[in-house]
């Protein structure tokens, strides 16, 4: 973000790469269809009946999204849409595959969830197109810096007022006739808009007005204020909603964007110290979070319901998957039980049925998506676009880390969804909107500069020769 940098870095290839995107999209639709056939052959010995329907549905979504990008963001990044489509398609197949297990597809657990997920994906793609269509320039969002702060806080606070508690976390809002919605998923995008707008204005004060103490840049109290306020808000969310994931995301994204905006390592150290102390504080006082931490530390102890902990079951499934997995449709992830196998623990199914090789491929896809987001931030010319792209890619990265780390028992499990892969309507919709925003920024960043207009006064002031 240094402004006195005297060089520019420009991509060498052709600016528009829509045909590459189309090719990758076809690939991204074929892979889930292959997976679908694979599950059917493994479980019933024949191609599943709905294969054509799912394949066409996914293909149609991808095609419409591609046409929208071609029309309204012709210079956007060629990889984000195919990767998002592939992850969404694989998620649909995995949920459909888990729907085939009668023990976790009872009416009490909501029955088969894949049709609903396909519907939510359609809504998500519609929102994706809507964002591309209505938001012609991402800098428009800069005007709504403080409005978006208020909206994000209202969305975050909504479940405390009108929400309901499911699985110990109070993060859902029930809308009659539609279903449950997780406002936090949308708040994460809106809060990134606020941080980008705020830090763009304040970053010089935050970066330069500081004292140096023991090799660390210690910011002034009045600059430290906002970070402490954000920390307090995220702790309040944690306490009232017992939602470790969202508060971690909320605070983490602020620290990431502060670091990017100011180039001061001290912010990261402050952030880590504050989040660690906050987590310890809440874990020792709140029973629900404390139990999660306990499960993480001692996964083989007996769980609260006198059974095996889900953490242990997820680890068993990774172990039984081995290097190359048991094959799609041939795992036992139904044993994790309940709806968790389709949402929070969907990575355990990936790990068991596709093995370490498949899990790494999925992680690579997420990494590529995040890399494209960061690359967009590098290519963006305006500071707001840079910060917003970093923020959105950071939201995505932190969410993937928090979920994957929780499932693989690297950190305590938090109730968040794997973007695109896991079952959950709000998550799919919000993440499609996030991708649309990134595509919009990347379209602006990669658009070639307009050809210089013929100078009028060059014609008027020619040398008059005798």
């Amino acid at each position: 973000m240094s402004s006195n940098n005297n060089t520019t870095v420009s991509p060498g290839g052709l600016p528009s790469r829509r045909n590459t995107e189309l090719m990758m999209l076809v690939f991204a639709v074929v892979i889930p269809v292959f997976a679908y056939a694979n599950v059917g052959l493994a479980k019933e010995g024949s191609l599943p009946a709905g294969m054509l329907g799912y394949g066409l549905g996914l293909g149609l979504l991808a095609g419409v999204a591609h046409l929208a990008v071609r029309r309204w963001a012709p210079y956007a990044d060629p990889l984000m849409l195919p990767i998002a489509t592939l992850l969404n398609g694989l998620g649909l197949v995995l949920i459909w595959r888990l729907d085939q297990e009668p023990t976790i597809t009872t009416d009490r657990l909501g029955g088969p969830l894949a049709p609903g997920q396909l519907m939510w994906s359609t809504v998500g793609v519609a929102l994706f197109i809507g964002v591309l269509l209505l938001l012609k320039d991402h800098r428009l969002l800069q005007r709504y810096t403080y409005i978006s702060m208020v909206v994000a806080l209202v969305l975050l606070a909504l479940p405390i007022v009108v929400g309901e508690e499911i699985n110990g976390a109070r993060i859902w809002v029930r809308i009659p006739g539609v279903g449950s919605l997780q406002p936090g998923e949308f708040a994460k995008i809106i809060i990134a808009v606020f941080f980008a707008g705020y830090l763009m204005v304040k970053r010089d004060a935050l970066a330069l007005a500081s004292r140096r103490v023991m090799g660390l840049y210690l910011p002034r109290g009045r600059d430290l204020g906002p970070i402490l306020v954000i920390w307090a808000i995220s702790l309040l969310i944690l306490i009232f909603e017992t939602d470790l994931g969202t508060s971690l995301l909320f605070f983490g994204i602020f620290v990431v964007m502060l670091y990017v905006a100011t180039e001061r390592t001290s912010w990261i150290i402050f952030g880590l110290l504050l989040s660690a102390s906050g987590a310890v504080l809440v874990a020792s006082t709140n029973a629900h979070v404390g139990e999660r931490v306990n499960n993480w530390l001692n996964p083989l102890d007996r769980a609260a319901n006198d059974g095996v902990t889900e953490t242990a079951q997820a680890m068993f499934s990774f172990g039984s998957g081995g290097l190359f997995g048991s094959g799609l449709g041939q795992g036992y992830s139904r044993l994790i039980g309940g709806i968790a196998a389709k949402s929070d623990y969907i990575l355990a199914t990936v790990g068991e049925e596709l093995g370490l090789a498949g899990l790494m491929a999925i992680v690579m896809l997420y990494a590529l998506l995040i890399e494209r987001g960061m690359r967009t931030a590098l290519a963006a010319r305006d500071p707001f676009g840079k910060l917003l792209a970093v923020g959105l890619a950071g939201v995505f990265a932190i969410q993937v880390f928090v979920v994957a780390g929780g499932v693989t028992a690297l950190i305590p499990l938090t109730g968040m969804t794997m973007p695109f892969l896991a079952q959950g309507g709000s998550s799919v919709i919000a993440n499609w909107a996030l991708i649309a925003l990134l595509l919009r920024i990347s379209d602006t960043a990669r658009r070639p500069a307009p050809a210089p207009a013929p100078s009028l006064d060059a014609e008027q002031t020619q040398v008059v020769r005798p």
Partner: protein
């Protein structure tokens, strides 16, 4: 389904999944090998740098035969903070000044926002014109008052920056 078919499908699926990742990495390879780091001050539109490089072998053909034999092909900054920067001459107008949209952005306290411009006339002769700058533009020793053709090798001085046209 036989065990063999399922094993082939299982490994085949992993192969296809990784193939997607590898193709995706191929697509972004241009990030690693296709980028150019260009001096921002010298070239205002980096996307034109490639076209310029391609055109260089036949500059006369591009400018429709207007360019004379022995005409200068590049502008070189010989003194000042941008010393060493070159800009290819292709018949376009080159503006100099501190304004951000100038072809050459001068980081010079003595330069005006829109200080001077250099452009070819109908015969392909390069002309330098002062755009009403505060501290003036000097060709050799004389301060410019009207647009003047640039003799080959003559230094143009703007503040601390010296520019020459070369073949």
């Amino acid at each position: 389904m036989s065990e063999l078919t399922l094993t082939v499908m299982r490994l085949g699926f992993l192969a296809v999944l990784w193939l997607f990742v590898i193709v995706a990495v191929q697509v972004i390879r241009s990030d690693l090998f296709g980028t150019r780091v260009t001096q921002r001050a010298a070239v205002r539109r980096p996307d034109q740098a490639g076209q310029r490089r391609e055109r260089q072998p036949q500059p006369k053909a591009r400018s429709g035969g207007r360019q004379r034999r022995g005409a200068p092909t590049k502008l070189v900054i010989t003194e000042g903070s941008l010393a060493g920067t070159t800009v290819a001459l292709q018949g376009q107008t080159i503006t100099l000044g501190r304004a951000h949209d100038s072809t050459i952005v001068l980081d010079d306290d003595y330069a005006s926002g829109r200080h001077a411009r250099i452009y070819p006339d109908q015969n392909g002769q390069w002309i330098v014109e002062d755009l009403g700058s505060t501290n003036g533009t000097y060709l050799d020793r004389g301060r410019l008052t009207t647009p003047v053709p640039i003799p080959p090798g003559a230094p143009i001085r703007i503040g601390k920056t010296v520019i020459e046209l070369r073949k």
